[in-house]
């Protein structure tokens, strides 16, 4: 982890802990340099904060901060440009891959990634993501899947699990009435243009480290000009799952990851 040279810890811990001073020299984990040191607007226990940080760590470790362009979605992460300290633009709802395509074609030397939620990518933006993958655009897509529309009040999303209670499915999602949850990665895997597809989770420290590896692999694919790469991140939404953060993290293991299997879906 590249740490920001803040000097924040300097001298503050002196005298505590048997003469062990908290200085920059022994600081082993802190903010990545490209993540702004500000408070985010996400609810307690939301996975967005973790994914934001993982992207910044990947950008810093590849040393591509000056040529990275992110495209923020509509959804809970609509204000992502407030937290990333590199170039970020905003797109219309679901049209993030289309905007990223344009940027990448005009500026092929830049590293372009999109950051999308499940309401953005799997509902209104389904056409854009399928055709972007099918064209094999050399961009990276980070897809944060928490199974509800968080920003608008926890309504059912296409990725909501069967039987899951949301604001619009108060008795649980009915497969007969609402159809089946969409497995976007498996759907894109049949397209020859999609080169790297992986599903990860951020519900435990162990899974977060795996997620970071996946995000770095996806960026590496783009840096090597290998084509379309996408990482789906199973994330928690404790507020609209109506449970505590710890229960939400457990639910990913018990329910969500059993329907959306983790691991590399396609790599070529």
């Amino acid at each position: 982890m590249k740490s920001r040279a803040k000097g924040k810890g300097k001298g503050k811990g002196k005298g505590k802990g048997k003469g062990h001073a908290l200085t920059e020299n022994n600081l082993i984990f802190a903010h990545p340099a490209s993540l702004r040191d500000v408070e985010n607007h996400y609810c307690a226990g939301c996975g967005h904060g973790i994914v934001h940080r993982l992207i910044c760590e990947a950008v810093d470790e590849f040393g591509i901060r000056e040529k990275t362009i992110g495209v923020a979605p509509v959804g809970c992460a609509v204000l992502a440009y407030d937290y990333w300290d590199f170039d970020v633009t905003e797109a219309a709802h679901g049209r993030t891959p289309a905007v990223a395509t344009g940027i990448k074609r005009v500026r092929p030397d830049n590293i372009v990634f999109t950051y999308q939620g499940d309401g953005d990518l799997a509902a209104i933006g389904t056409a854009e993501i399928i055709h972007t993958a099918n064209r094999g655009e050399n961009i990276t897509v980070i897809f944060v899947n928490n199974g509800v529309y968080g920003m608008t009040g926890g309504q059912m999303a296409p990725t909501t699990l069967a039987g899951q209670k949301t604001a619009t499915t108060i008795y649980g999602r009915s497969l007969k009435r609402d159809g089946y949850p969409i497995k976007i990665l498996e759907m894109l895997a049949v397209l020859p243009g999609a080169k790297y597809l992986e599903r990860v989770a951020v519900n435990s420290a162990h899974e977060v480290l795996r997620a970071k590896r996946a995000i770095k692999n996806a960026f590496k694919m783009q840096i090597d000009n290998k084509g379309f790469s996408m990482v789906e991140v199973l994330s928690m939404c404790p507020t609209y799952w109506e449970m505590t953060s710890i229960q939400a993290a457990k639910r990913i293991n018990d329910e969500v990851a059993t329907f959306y299997p983790l691991g590399v879906i396609k790599s070529c």
Partner: protein, 66 residues
Amino acid sequence: MPKIKIDKVRCKGCYLCIVNCPNGLIKIANGLNIKGVKPAVFSGGKCTGCTMCAVICPECIIEVYR
């Protein structure tokens, strides 16, 4: 000995760090912070500096020193 530092003011109280600390060294504070939640605090003890608490923290407010 390794140490962690948690920004109590910005802690939103999700307590994911508490369940992810392999040695159980993080606890819930007694008092409230400015947000009205009880922040997570480092209780001292044998921290190994594994960084698991900082890796899971959605607010990125935990610094680890070794």
